[in-house]
């Protein structure tokens, strides 16, 4: 009874999160669902509180990163990236500029995702990349697809790159620097694989040479040096705090606070906008979802999945773990997938936890939001007469995801065993 109730609650929470009737927040169903499960006794009150205690700091960390990215955008960081890409893509006459622009988009999107999380790439960088492509008179499609793909697959490097990483980081017991050191090679391997596939897949679109009109030249806005310096110090703070045994979330708070005080003092941002950027309803949603998933796992899904998850960090075990994680992320969504798999993988050590991350971060390039969510999205849009054509997206995903998973797992295995880990 508890099992089916928990599953119904999970499906309802996920379905609401995708459909969001009347634009209501996700938490509207997630929080009551968690309360109902606790009231019905499907999950004990104390284990719900333990779950909330574990999720709290992670969610706070995410809020700080969201605010940090918002302030970087306000200070013109992404506009400066666009101007830099436009300037350098046309200053070299060798090769086609569209291909050069793609290489720059790969660099900027990978670094943005790693440092400011995938949200920044999707929400803040993608429109800038599109505008840059059209200003250069090249096709925007490969450049925009690069942003959406790298938002997922380039979110491996740092704990702050993805909410899934933040959740796993708390469970893995790794230091910030150690996490980054182990994930650096998989991160580079996946980006390289994506680039190799993209240049072939979009060869026709990339053969177009840019012809920017001289009178439409981007005016040079200059680099936001202060913001970049704060970002660099924040990154150093992550590693330093973690090495000193302090939660690196404090470094994120400090970085966000410095930029926020400066922006508020200059009247460039309203306090309300900062609170909105922190996205409190979403934080409540993660809390509710965490408790619902915990209930599903402890009511049978955990014991059902446990035999599928191999123990240890041998190459076949890492491959199987990453593949299972990718499959689960594609069935539902990577957020519930990582919440389900973390407690099962954690006893096998940090290597297994990182393999789960490879799966849940690279996997979503096969089906945007997990197939359940994608199906719902298609149904809604079809009703409005504009069902998205997922053919090209799926073909691209079939080329990049299995190959990316394979090279990433190999690279992780080398990092774990080659580097004396």
């Amino acid at each position: 009874m508890g099992e089916s109730l928990a599953l119904i609650a999970l499906v309802a929470v996920l379905a609401w999160a995708v459909v969001r009737p009347r634009g209501w927040p996700e938490a509207v169903v997630a929080v009551p669902a968690a309360v109902i499960l606790i009231a019905a006794g499907a999950i004990g009150g104390s284990s719900a509180i333990t779950e909330a205690r574990q999720l709290g700091p992670v969610i706070g960390f995410l809020a700080a990163i969201l605010v940090l990215a918002h302030l970087c955008d306000d200070d013109g960081l992404f506009q400066a990236c666009g101007a830099w890409m436009a300037r350098t893509a046309t200053s070299h006459q060798t090769g086609t500029g569209a291909r050069r622009l793609l290489a720059q988009v790969f660099v900027i999107a990978s670094v943005t995702t790693a440092v400011l999380s995938l949200d920044a790439t999707v929400v803040l960088l993608t429109p800038v990349v599109f505008a840059t492509a059209s200003r250069l008179d090249v096709r925007a499609k490969p450049q925009v697809y690069a942003c959406t793909h790298l938002a997922n697959s380039a979110s491996l490097l740092l704990p702050v790159s993805n909410l899934t990483n933040l959740l796993a980081f708390a469970a893995s017991g790794l230091a910030f620097g150690r996490f980054a050191a182990l994930m650096a090679l998989p991160w580079l391997a996946v980006i390289g694989t994506e680039y190799a596939v993209f240049t072939r897949f979009f060869a026709a679109d990339l053969s177009v040479r840019p012809h920017p009109d001289p009178d439409r030249r981007e005016k040079d806005t200059g680099l936001p040096v202060f913001t970049l310096a704060v970002l660099a110090l924040t990154l150093a703070g992550f590693a330093g705090a973690s090495a000193a045994g302090v939660n690196p979330a404090w470094a994120a708070f400090a970085g966000a606070a410095v930029l926020a005080v400066r922006a508020l003092a200059r009247h460039r941002v309203a306090p309300v906008a900062l609170i909105r950027a922190a996205d409190l309803p979403f934080l409540l949603f993660v809390l509710g979802l965490g408790i619902v998933v915990k209930t599903v796992v402890s009511n049978g899904l955990g014991t059902a999945l446990a035999p599928l998850l191999p123990g240890g960090t041998s190459l076949p075990a890492l491959l199987a773990t990453a593949a299972l994680a990718a499959a689960l992320a594609n069935v539902c969504n990577n957020l519930p997938a990582v919440l389900v798999l973390l407690p099962l993988a954690a006893p096998s050590g940090a290597g297994a936890v990182l393999a789960v991350l490879l799966g849940v971060n690279i996997g979503p390039n096969l089906s945007y939001t997990g197939s359940l969510a994608t199906l719902l999205w298609r149904r809604i849009l079809r009703r409005h007469g504009s069902a998205p054509d997922l053919g090209e997206f799926t073909r691209l995903g079939l080329l990049t995801v299995p190959a990316g998973l394979l090279v990433a797992v190999l690279a992780l295995w080398v990092s774990l065993h080659g580097a004396g880990g």
Binding site: A17, V18, R20, G23, P25, E26, A27, L66, A98, L118, D119, V122, V123, T126, P127, F130, A131, A133, S134, D137, V138, R139, A140, K141, V144, Y145, C147, T148, A151, N152, L163, A203, A204, D205, S207, V208, R209, P210, H211, D213, R276, D279, P281, F282, F285, N333, N334, L335, P364, Y368, T369, A373, T374, W377, S386, P388, D389, E392, F393
Partner: protein, 178 residues
């Protein structure tokens, strides 16, 4: 199409990023006198859809007015297409109809040129090695399915015929498999 004779032939010029100048110039230079021009641009729907899909993947993060990159890309794409069509019309320097379509490029072009007397388009493929790949998927589809004559132009000056590889000197003997 019989009525077209009195009003002049109808010429559709497919305007694409990067290659539109060559198409407009060819249309202007080679179309019959008195032709009525339609400049056609197609914004591929996949681009904004990809951004919107990635945004949905974030669940609730970053929701709020004007935050959906899919919607922002739709706005940017509409502005960019309008701008491109205006510049193409400037270059054409004649009265013309401007047509902006949101959808699948190849199918939209075939449909929009179904009643035309001529469709002008540029090669959209990889022209570093000349051969079948110098036509991309969309151009290949339009060449195969267009219901009107198609004028296919090079985006840059056409390569010299000396770039064609020489015929093989000693053709391999036909294999006698069975």
């Amino acid at each position: 199409m019989a009525g077209n004779e009195s009003q002049g032939r109808s010429v559709v010029v497919w305007v694409c990023e990067g290659t539109w100048r060559a198409s407009v110039d060819a249309g202007l230079g080679l179309a019959p006198a008195g032709a009525r021009f339609t400049l056609l641009h197609v914004t591929p729907a996949e681009v904004a859809d990809a951004a919107h899909g990635a945004y949905l993947g974030l669940f609730g993060r970053g929701h709020g007015a004007g935050r959906d990159p899919g919607a922002r890309l739709d706005d940017l794409a509409a502005a960019s297409a309008g701008d491109l069509l205006a510049r193409a019309a400037d270059r054409l320097g004649r009265d013309c109809e401007k047509l902006e379509i949101h959808g699948h490029a190849e199918r939209a072009v075939v449909a929009a040129s179904a009643q035309a007397d001529l469709l002008v388009m540029a090669r959209d493929g990889d022209r570093s090695r000349l051969g079948p790949k110098s036509l991309g998927k969309a151009a290949r589809f339009v060449v195969d399915h267009a219901a009107c004559p198609v004028l296919l132009v090079w985006p840059e000056p056409a390569p010299d015929i000396t770039t064609i590889p020489p015929p093989p000197q000693h053709p391999a003997p036909p294999s006698i498999a069975d």
